[in-house]
């Protein structure tokens, strides 16, 4: 088991290195291959209406004249030991972990990114609890009462949940519960450490909105999984032992049906931690998703690179956790 986890860890680190190479290539190698000059590339980091001198200075600060592998190495080294961009008075210091320096905001990328992580984490985990509880419960009931009114009704709602975009359900919920009936007025992020009650209250609408989409998905997955497992031979064996139906369903049926769902859940959560873009945008929550949108809109390349690295980090970690969890859940995978 330990070697299994170690092997996966090494693979995860390797994967992250590959991801960083790809991201680096997209921003620094591909433009060059496409005919972009160092000067042109540097222009994009300087802001609007740059002077020639400013661009040349930026070119030097970014080290664009160095060979690409040297630039990549510098990029990696900066993450560990930090980096000084430029020389003399114009020099700026980016402390480790330095995921680039946003010249537009005149700030290193990492602290800006880190400050938006709690928002995204609060949003993702809260919604995850809701959608797991709701989705799985609805899925199990639907499967056991297949073809009944409950099943049809919940599957219709689930279809709506999967089909309706976040920016629709989110805006409707805001219009109804924040504006018309101000049960949750003034939705904005309050840190958990500052005021837990307000933190939870202000996140209820985003949680429900996000969870609605995923709960719908998970209800359908659970239903399909339960229908399949409840037809398995070992369920018949469990009944033949004389177990009460509740034990048969929960301990034997759900246990087997949940394994693939755990896998998907890990990946979904990892993806969400990289930023729930639509939800954060709809509710103006300054998480990683909104950070990404603003970075893209401002064409702030270091910020975009940083957030992509962070998001891929979350996904790789989620993958790792899922692999390990799967081995714990399904003994057939272990050895």
């Amino acid at each position: 088991m330990i070697t299994f986890i170690l092997r996966r860890l090494i693979a995860a680190v390797f994967l992250l290195v590959v991801v960083s190479m790809v991201i680096f290539s997209i921003f620094f190698l591909l433009p060059k291959l496409g005919g972009q000059t160092n000067y042109g590339l540097a222009t994009q980091y300087v802001g609007r209406n740059p002077t020639r001198a400013a661009v040349l200075q930026m070119e030097a600060a970014l080290g664009l004249d160095k060979p690409v592998y040297q630039q990549y190495w510098d990029y990696l080294r900066a993450i560990v030991v930090g980096e000084h961009y430029g020389t003399g008075v114009t020099s700026v210091y980016c402390p480790p972990p330095c995921f680039g320096y946003s010249f537009r905001n005149q700030q290193p990328v990492w602290p800006m990114m880190v400050s938006s992580i709690p928002v995204t984490v609060s949003l993702a985990f809260g919604a995850a609890v809701l959608w797991l509880a709701g989705g799985i419960a609805i899925g199990v009931v639907s499967a056991l009462k297949r073809g009944s009114i409950i099943d049809r009704l919940s599957m219709t709602i689930a279809l709506a949940g999967v089909s309706l975009p976040i920016f629709f359900t989110g805006l409707v919920s805001l219009a109804l519960f924040s504006y018309k009936w101000p049960i949750f007025p003034n939705v904005q992020f309050v840190p958990l450490t500052q005021n837990p009650a307000l933190w939870a209250r202000n996140l209820v609408l985003p949680w429900v909105t996000l969870a609605f989409l995923y709960a719908a998905l998970y209800a359908r997955l659970t239903r399909a999984g339960m229908l399949e497992t409840m037809g398995e031979d070992y369920i018949r064996t469990a009944r033949a032992k004389g177990l009460p139906e509740r034990t048969v369903i929960c301990k034997h049926g759900l246990r087997a049906a949940l394994t693939p769902i755990v896998t998907i859940f890990g990946l979904d959560l990892g993806l969400l931690l990289g930023g729930a873009v639509l939800t954060e945008y709809t509710f103006s929550l300054h998480g990683l998703g909104l950070f990404t949108i603003e970075a893209v809109q401002n064409q702030d390349f270091p910020e975009v690179m940083g957030v992509v690295m962070l998001a891929s980090f979350f996904i790789v970690i989620a993958n790792l956790v899922v692999d390990v969890l799967y081995a714990v859940l399904d003994p057939r995978v272990r050895y």
């Binding site: 018949r236 009944r239 246990r255």
Partner: protein, 360 residues
């Protein structure tokens, strides 16, 4: 003393969109303690449904009429909770495919412990665990204490079936139903498992029902044999009679399609022509008549009149066939002499249409 299990006019029907599936249609038999009953038939003959019916394991949709008496207690219409109490305790079952019948995510020891504790709530975990290990040991699993910690996929097919048997017998059931217990196993392992079942039967004194499509399986084990066709009884009697003086053309067909070493190579295997009938539209008259070679001998009764089970020459042996005792004896003699059926030659060309038999 009353028999342990008594089934009377059992009918199990399943309503489906295509019509009513009459999986079991009027089956009666009884079984004494310590004896073995073999239920034989092709796929879809209703043998598995019968056993699931006894265990109360059919779906909620099934319509059940008739009587199932276990030790005098009526089960067919009993409270579900009461049947659940008996299930696994007084009657237990093992299934065809031990790999899919054991839960892949739980250790085999824990699965046996679960079966034991549900019927012995006062037993401690430790006692239950000891019981599980004892049972694994009893069914011939080496190092039972170690193997109890393993998962089903770590066992071979034969060992898995031994685990199933250990699980079924851990509560000392009075009735053990084995549904095709050797079908999914290697031929070399089949005999071991059958030996184990009969050995344990002698030790535990339980009654055993063995369900199979393979007459060879029941030949040695079964005291009585019940041949089922299209949800009904075709023939019922002591094993010696079924093999020595079979009275139903379907049984003859089953025996002829069995591989045997004492016959010439060319004539060794004789398949029964046609396929089992749809259980939604069972042929009128005798359900076997579209595949039977002897229908010409009865003057049309086979096509119109449902044959009732009536006593054959020997005691306790009954056959549901319109042939007279004399005709049966003559045709059987002709068959065993290796002759072509004297009756009418080929069976009706009309084959049953509609969906095939329902296998559960």
């Amino acid at each position: 003393m009353a028999p342990l299990l008594e089934v009377r006019d059992l009918r199990i029907h399943f309503p489906t969109d295509d019509g009513l599936v009459k999986s079991v249609d009027g089956v009666s038999f009884s079984l004494e303690r310590g004896r073995t009953l073999g239920i034989v038939g092709e796929s879809g003959s209703g043998k598995s449904v019968t056993s699931l019916g006894i265990m109360g394991l059919h779906h909620g949709k099934a319509q059940i009429t008739g009587e199932i008496r276990l030790d005098g207690e009526e089960l067919a219409h009993a409270d579900q909770a009461r049947v659940r109490e008996l299930r696994g305790a007084k009657m237990a079952m093992i299934f065809q495919d031990p790999l899919s019948s054991l839960h892949p995510y739980y250790r085999v020891g824990d699965q046996i412990v679960e079966a034991y504790r549900i019927h012995h709530p006062q037993a401690t975990r430790k006692q239950a665990r000891q019981r599980a290990i004892d049972m694994l040991d009893r069914v011939g699993i080496p190092q039972p204490a170690v193997r109890a910690e393993d998962y089903p996929h770590q066992f071979s097919g034969g060992m898995r079936q031994r685990v199933m048997i250990a699980m079924a017998l851990c509560n000392d059931p009075e009735l053990l139903i084995a549904d095709e217990p050797t079908t999914a196993l290697d031929v070399t392992v089949q005999a071991q498992i059958l030996d184990l079942i009969s050995e344990l039967q002698a030790e535990f004194g339980s009654a055993v029902i063995i369900i199979t499509h393979d007459l060879g399986v029941v030949a040695e084990l079964a005291d009585d044999i019940l041949v089922m066709y299209a949800g009904r009884l075709a023939e019922y009697g002591p094993g010696a009679d079924i093999f020595g003086q079979p009275g139903h053309p379907y049984t003859w067909g089953l025996l002829a399609s069995m591989p045997r070493l004492d016959r010439e190579r060319q004539t060794r295997l004789v398949p029964i022509p046609g396929t089992p009938p749809s259980l939604i539209q069972v042929p009128p008259g005798c359900p076997f008549h579209p595949r039977c070679r002897y229908t010409a001998l009865t003057g049309g009764r086979c096509q119109t009149e449902v044959p009732v089970l009536r006593a054959a020459v020997t005691r306790g042996h009954a056959t549901a066939c319109h042939l007279t005792a004399a005709q049966t004896a003559r045709e059987r003699a002709a068959l065993s002499a290796g002759q072509v059926p004297a009756g009418a030659g080929e069976p009706d060309a009309r084959e049953p249409v509609l969906p095939g038999g329902v296998e559960t």
